[in-house]
Symmetry: C2
Subunit: 213 residues, 2 copies
DNA sequence: CTGGATCCCTCACGATACTG
DNA sequence: CAGTATCGTGAGGGATCCAG
């Protein structure tokens, strides 16, 4: 067999031949957060078999989506990162994530939230218009994941790690989604104990404006 | 096992659980052209095994992407169509198609062009701005595929079938891509015999403006 | 420790034949 | 026309092992 092709001269067919294999888009999602080492990828995708991760990285490298780079000494470790071509997938990945989020429902018993998925969720739901002229620092904690979210004059920066001087620290559960979907109000979320705040509570309303679905 | 899940509470993960299975997005691409019967889908996807088509349709129906409808008598046949939720995939599908088109290269020996892929290609590459105030009818022939393309005051309508009173009939090969990528000029395409025109040749320049990559 | 390679097993997929 | 039935194969799942 000719290696899993669709036999159609079509952009969409070619795209799914490249990034449509199982796990490929989740690897790419993690790489959108930044360059990652093999082990970082495994940590972010706990259920991926190591041979599959290895195979996907090779394929994505061969198709020009991902590049493999050896860090300069003394570190000398290997990182994978998106190429320019791979980066062009951003609107598609965000769009797919937004579409799929509508079918999320409640977390299934064995479903986890990873730092990369949370970071992409923040980027997906961010409303640039609502951020105009704002400068705020949030720290988000979901389980043992800690993110810092900085709104800097309308632009968004999200990354892993704490934010020491955050204006507001939001501690919550995966049900954060209900808040962002405006199914409940910020006040209800606080009263119901779904979120715990440290800092200026008024900034939670701003948060919902910035990241609502 | 729990039926091919990724174990992540993440919009992107859910999306690929729903439409990431093999062949699913190509089925959806064909349904974007309009409701289709089982046999229509098979014709548009010659390499799909019939049991897989059957399985995908069931899955997509269960996840609310596709709906199955029995046509009123006396026809009584069955058509599949996208639900409202399925239709919301349009920007993603077009975006993926545009991204994948950059890796198309030359058609492989066994690759075919289908009506649906051509129609989606036209929609993908259409520039609304370039169509402002225009009203033109094109007929496109690629192999034995015949499409009609109507620009109606800036809006685009593409469908299968001839256009009797077309302002310009363009007959070409799959290498049409080279023209749309502006790798060659319209004049070169005509001189080189890549396209054959019937009607007002000046409208080929307009065509390239409307559908270039 | 990181960055994989190797083994085995299973099930989703592929090809084809057949049916209401 | 609209699928179901059957059966073989190989990609993916899971565990383990290994080199630098």
């Amino acid at each position: 067999m000719t290696k899993r092709e669709y036999g159609q001269f079509c952009g969409l067919a070619r795209a799914v031949e490249i990034v449509g294999e199982r796990w490929a888009l989740l690897i790419i999602r993690d790489l959108f957060v930044g360059p990652r080492r093999y082990t970082d990828l495994r940590r972010g995708l706990p259920r991926i078999p190591t041979n599959i991760l290895s195979a996907r990285l090779k394929e994505l490298e061969a198709t020009g989506v991902v590049s493999r780079r050896v860090l300069p000494r003394p570190d000398g470790s290997i990182v994978y990162e998106l190429t320019e071509y791979g980066n062009q997938l951003e609107p598609v990945v965000l769009g797919l994530g937004r579409w799929g989020a509508k079918s999320l429902g409640e977390p299934r018993p064995d479903e986890i939230v990873t730092p990369a998925s949370l970071i992409m969720a923040m980027r997906t739901t961010f409303h640039r218009e609502a951020a105009d002229g704002l400068t705020i620092g949030y720290e988000i904690r979901v389980g043992d994941i800690v993110l810092h979210v900085r709104i800097d004059n309308g632009s968004l920066k999200v990354a892993e790690g704490a934010l020491p001087n955050a204006d507001l620290v939001i501690e919550t559960e995966p049900a954060l989604g209900a808040l962002m979907a405006r199914e409940i109000t910020p006040a209800e979320a606080v009263d119901g104990g779904i979120v715990t705040l440290t800092g200026d509570p008024a900034l939670l309303d701003t948060f919902v404006d910035l990241f609502s679905i």
